[in-house]
Symmetry: C2
Subunit: 325 residues, 2 copies
Amino acid sequence: MAGAVAASRDLGIRVALAGRPHLIRPLLAKAGPAPNVYIEAAEESIAMGEGALASWRRPRSSIAVACQLVRRGQADAVISAGSTAAIVATAQIRLRPLPGVGRPALAVALPTRPHPTVLIDAGAIADPKPEMLVQFAQLGVAYAEIAHGVAKPRVGLLTIGAEPGKGNKLARRGHELLNSDPPHGGMPISFAGNVEGNDLLAGQVDVIVTDGFTGNVALKTLEGTASYSAAQFRTAITSSAVARIGAMLQRRALHQMSERFDSETYGGAALLGLEATIVIAHGAVTARGAAAACKLAAELTERRITERIRERLGPSRAGHFLRRP
Amino acid sequence: MAGAVAASRDLGIRVALAGRPHLIRPLLAKAGPAPNVYIEAAEESIAMGEGALASWRRPRSSIAVACQLVRRGQADAVISAGSTAAIVATAQIRLRPLPGVGRPALAVALPTRPHPTVLIDAGAIADPKPEMLVQFAQLGVAYAEIAHGVAKPRVGLLTIGAEPGKGNKLARRGHELLNSDPPHGGMPISFAGNVEGNDLLAGQVDVIVTDGFTGNVALKTLEGTASYSAAQFRTAITSSAVARIGAMLQRRALHQMSERFDSETYGGAALLGLEATIVIAHGAVTARGAAAACKLAAELTERRITERIRERLGPSRAGHFLRRP
C-alpha cells in the first residue's frame, strides 16, 4: 500500500489495487492521502506455493483481475509480488501475446556497470524451442534500449564454453539461429557469441539470452552467492573487537555498496512479449521495492516498450511461432 | 612440477609427469630433489581452446599417455589441468566405464560447512538422459562418503522450484526416478527433493545432482559472483584513507576467509565413473593447487572410491546404460 501510494504521488500516475477491499482499505488509510489510488475488488488470490494450475481455477484472483483491467483498456501495466509461476500462467491466459512472440519471457536487470545487463529468460519457460531464444534476444534488446538507454545492445548466449559448438542441443541450435544472416525476419541482432556463468556480472554484453530453466538457476545462484559472500564478509570484518573498529570506519562505503546490490533498487523482473508489461517484484518486497516496481512499469509503458518489441520483431512475421491466431 | 614434487614428498606417492621430456626436465630440476617423480614421454598435447575432437586426433597427447598408464596398471589415478572437454573425451576413449555407468560425471566440492557439498555433474555431459541423473546421484553419494566422510549423504536435485512438478522435462523426470522405490537397482539413495540455485551454498544437502550444462553454468556463476563480490568488498573497505585503516585492523580475518574460499584448497573437480579417478585442476593452477589435486587423487584412490561406486551401483545392473559391453 505504502509503495503504491508513494509511486502514485511521486510519478503522477494512477494506481489500482486489485484484492479484497476489506483487507486493503484499512492499510490504505494508514498510508496517507492517496487521491490517485483506488481499489479494484478481487475475491480470490493465489498463494505463493501454488503453481500454474491455480490460474485456471481462480478466474477472479487479484492477478487475473489486474490483467482484466489491461484487457479492458483501464490499465497500462501490471505489478505483482506473487508467485512467478502463477503470474506467468495467468498473464498468458488473460493477455494477448505480441505478434511473433511464442511465449512471454522474464527479463531481469543484473547490477553491472555502467548500466545493468539484461538476463532473459529468467524463469518463464523451462523448455523453450530454439527459435524462442531468438525472440528472447529481441525482447531483451528492446528492454536494454528502453530501460537502460543502450544504443545498439550486444547480445550473448549463456552456455558452457566460448566456441560456437559448446553447450547442450538447445544452446548449440540457438547459437546457429542467433548467428544467422539475414536474421530470422526481425530487426538485426548484434550477436556477440557465447558467454559463460562467470560472465553474468562482467558487463561485456548488454543482453544475455538463455532458457528459463538455466536462467532461473543462474539468477538464484548469483543471488544466493552474493548474499552468502556478504554474510561471510560481515562476519570477517566484525570477528574481533579490533576488526569491528575497522568496520565502523568503513560504514559509509559499505552502506553505498549494499545499496547498489539491493535488488529492490531495480524494481523486479519484467515479463515481456504480451500486450502489456508485467513487473514481478520479490515476494518479500518492502514499500520502497513496491514503489520501484511501479516506477519500472510506468517507465517501460511511457517509453512504449511493447511498440518497440513490435518493431523489432517486424511486421512481416510468419505465424509459425504464434500460439493463437 | 613444484606441486608434483611436493605431493610426492608429502604424501609418499610416486608421480609420473606425462609430457615433452625436454620441456619437463629443466623445470623438474629447479623443483629440487624428487626421487619418486619420473617422466613419461608424450609427444603431443591438447591446447586449452581445443575440444573433444582433438582427443581422437592426438593418441599421444599427454592426457592420453596418462590414461594409458592407468590402463596398463602403472598408475592409479590421473591429474590434469588441461581443457575439461578434452580430458573428459580422452578419458572416455582410453578408460573403461564402471559397470552401470553410462557416462562419467564431474564432481565439484562447494565450500559449505561443516563439510563441502558435492555438485555433480559440473560439466561432463551437456545432454544426459534422465536415468543418468540417478547414476550421478550414486557417484556423488560415493564421493561424499569417501572424500567428506558423510555417513548417509542426502541428495538434492537442482531445479527451479521446491515442488516435484517444477523444472524442465529432464529435471521433472529425474525427480520421479530419484524418488522411485525400490530405487533403480543400486543401493538406496536418500533423496531430499528439489533444491534451487540459492541453495548451492546452504549446506542443506550433501550432494546436488544436475545435468552438466546447468551444473557448469551454476558453478561458473557461483565462482564469478564470489570473486565479483570479493572485489567489490575490497574496493569498499579501501575506498578512503579512514576505511583503509579499518581494513588493516581486519587483515587477519579477511585472510582466513579468502583461504576458505580459495578453490585450490579443494584440489579440483573429480571425473567419476571410470576405472580410475581423474582430477581436473584449474587451468591456471599454482604449485599449491597442483599438490592439492594430487592429494585429492591419492585420497580417493586409497579410500577405494571406484570400489564404493561399484557397490553403490549394484552387481545386478542391467546393461541398458552401458556404452560398451
